[in-house]
């Protein structure tokens, strides 16, 4: 949906930018020696744990590895709707 609206009203994104984004993702995974199956499993297990604490819509979740200078960060994006009313600790 998002892409088709952009294609209708705007210019297509430059292919060099697409190349760069695709490469960054795949190279980070190459370097960490992780594959899609690993990322999916990580995603699912994180979601399982976090679902105990707050509510989020499953299709807006993003889990990825990103390069930051010489190191890597795990970026987990769980846009929350509301926290569950539980007492922690």
């Amino acid at each position: 949906m998002n892409i088709s609206i952009k294609q209708l009203f705007g210019r297509r994104p430059k292919s060099s930018n697409i190349a760069k984004q695709r490469l960054k993702l795949v190279i980070t995974q190459d370097r960490m020696d992780v594959d899609d199956r690993f990322m999916t499993r990580l995603h699912n297990e994180l979601a399982e744990v976090l679902a105990k604490y707050f509510e989020f819509s499953a299709n807006s979740v993003q889990v990825s590895l990103k390069q930051k200078g010489n190191s890597y960060v795990l970026v987990a994006d769980f846009p929350y709707k509301k926290f569950h009313d539980i007492n922690i600790g």
């Binding site: 430059k14 292919s15 060099s16 930018n17 190349a19 760069k20 695709r22 490469l23 960054k24 795949v26 190279i27 190459d30 370097r31 390069q67 200078g69 010489n70």
Partner: protein, 264 residues
């Protein structure tokens, strides 16, 4: 004591051999003594790219098998002082050579030459291990496309693991026009992904094809943009501080004018 530099890439066809031939010749033109070594056993090409194919008598395999002395296997390039080629055997394969044997050859060559450039085969297996065995430093050649860059990243990881440093990048077949219209990644994009130092950018130059046809490295032609790029890179290798020109900021018109006014 000279430096041993492996020229490598991971992916084939990105310009390793062309870069080795031109940088070796360029360094010799700058007055350095240079040995270029073809490490692509079984698929040798440095000899034909340099125009020395008819003069190969012995190869590195003959030296390893003690059929001849190293000095006898070196083919002198008669067009410039101080340039020698050590060819790879065409009838053997990569497993016939051990990394330690290549290292021994490189160590001998470094005692008599300022620079030893080793042209690595494509791939990450035995041929690469042989080529990099004796190297102090590495030049990684890539083109600005996804497959070459991904493979370059793999090779950089292996070079780092082998503690070969510095690892410098040569960005080959760079097209200012394509970068200008957003169809090709620029040097900032490539460096952001690979995270190593840039040694130089070689613009796309059809002169490479004609120079390879003739067996005369591009650097003998002063006017060609590729030749100038390789000469700048060679100067940087000798320690001179030569800024990397910002090729992509030239307008299309400037490039067209340059193309029509260059000597051919």
């Amino acid at each position: 004591m000279g430096k041993v530099i492996v020229v490598t890439s991971g992916k084939g066809g990105v310009g390793k051999t062309t870069s080795t031939a031109n940088l070796g010749t360029a360094l010799a033109l700058l007055g350095k003594t240079v040995a270029v070594v073809d490490a692509d056993v079984g698929l040798r090409n440095l000899d034909i790219v340099m125009g020395l194919e008819s003069r190969i008598v012995y190869t590195s395999m003959d030296v390893i098998e003690k059929q001849c002395e190293l000095s006898k296997a070196l083919v002198k390039d008669r067009r410039v002082d101080g340039l020698m080629l050590l060819a790879a055997s065409q009838k053997n394969n990569k497993d016939d050579m051990q990394p330690a044997q290549m290292k021994a050859i490189c160590d001998k060559l470094r005692s008599t030459h300022d620079f030893v450039l080793v042209d690595s085969p494509a791939g990450i297996e035995r041929g690469f291990n042989n080529a990099s065995a004796g190297a102090d430093e590495a030049i990684v050649v890539t083109t600005p496309d996804v497959s070459a860059i991904r493979d370059a990243d793999r090779i950089i990881g292996l070079l780092q693991h082998a503690r070969i440093e510095p690892i410098n990048l040569v960005l080959n077949r760079f097209s200012p026009e394509l970068v200008g219209n957003g169809s090709m990644m620029d040097q900032a994009d490539v460096l952001d992904i690979l995270n190593i130092d840039l040694l130089g950018i070689v613009p796309e130059d059809s002169g490479v094809i004609t120079s390879t046809n003739r067996g005369i490295p591009l650097v003998y032609e002063d006017a060609s943009p590729g030749s100038q790029a390789y000469m700048r890179i060679a100067r940087r290798l000798t320690g001179q501080r030569i800024p990397i020109p910002d090729l992509e900021h030239k307008g299309l018109l400037t490039n067209i004018v340059n193309w029509f006014t260059r000597k051919r």
